[in-house]
């Protein structure tokens, strides 16, 4: 086994996340799939840091986590406010920008 296996795992996780974004209808589950894709990229960043023997990849993974946290907070607030006005969390039902 070589460290390339981590990259294969990361690629598979990213693919599963992308398929989930395409398939699922619940906005919250779609959001979780986006999180899975970010995690997959983080795994490859950590693996690259280990392969290259310096810490820049890990620092990049740290920044990805910070951005993901901010994104989750704003995204969930948007989903909640949509749910408050439309009483639905399905991505199919939200086809207007307002009301």
């Amino acid at each position: 086994m070589t460290p390339t296996y981590y990259l294969l795992l990361s690629a598979l996780l990213f693919t599963i996340g992308a398929v989930g974004v395409l398939v699922r209808r619940n906005a919250i589950v779609v959001f979780m799939c986006v999180e899975l894709m970010l995690n997959a990229v983080n795994l490859s960043l950590v693996t690259f840091a280990r392969l290259n023997g310096d810490l820049h990849g890990q620092v990049m993974g740290f920044f990805v986590m910070v951005v993901a946290a901010a994104e989750v907070v704003v995204g969930l607030a948007i989903i909640l406010s949509i749910f408050r006005t439309r009483r639905t969390a399905s991505v199919d039902d939200s086809n207007l920008l307002k009301y």
């Binding site: 070589t2 996780l13 398939v23 979780m32 899975l36 950590v46 890990q58 740290f62 986590m65 901010a70």
Partner: protein, 276 residues
Amino acid sequence: MLLAQQGAATVSTGEAVSFWVLGPLALAGALGMIFARNAVHSALFLVMTMLSLGCIYMVQQAPFLGFVQIIVYTGAIMMLFLFVLMLVGRDASDSVVEVLRGQRLWAGVLGVGLAVLITGAVARSLIDVTDQGLAADTANGGRGNVANIGQLIFSDYLFPFELTSALLITAAVGAMVLGYVNREQRGRRTQKELVEARFRGEHDRPSPLPGPGVFATANSVATPALLPDGSVAPESLSRLIESTTADKLAAERESVAGTGPAAGTRALAPGKEESR
């Protein structure tokens, strides 16, 4: 030369074992997240994936990132997801209706294509890579992982790090703005106005729904209210909780109506002793 490089790229047995345990766990969690109908189950499967990834980070000489992954992702972000799921409602499951025809099929085809593309590129480009490693004498050397990452963040990456603080403050303010509901401006209606609105027909019925346990022998939410003739009031049934079926309540209804078998003289509750 090539053989030597490949020899350097192999990992230790312990790491291989932990990879073959944690990797399938992460994959199973990801697949479970996609295929679970219930959104709460999806969230819990994603927690499993993220925990496995955190352990994989620690195995790959990134202990700081591994702990941050477990604390921030599984601890904070996934709990936030679960809170929002509870707010939106447990029954907010996915609809099985396909709005676009053949969407699942094409998504599957695209997914397989993407997987083949990425894994092919990765496998070809990294087939004889040299693993430098973060051993004790290189990047992690001397002071350990956390101190070195801290030095990098506060020297090379100082400006991006400051920018993330601005991003976090913006996100917090944005969440507060989006989540805030101004109840005062919407104008609260007084009780009199509400009563008039009810009788004008703005609501489905003028009176509130019958509460559970009204005219029944229990006050549990799972017990339906009974109408005066002994039948179950359909409006009192909770959508979310499976209500007690009517035939389960038959004996109690008889005892309330007085048509059931007479209680024994030493019985504590009517009808209980005869049923044994």
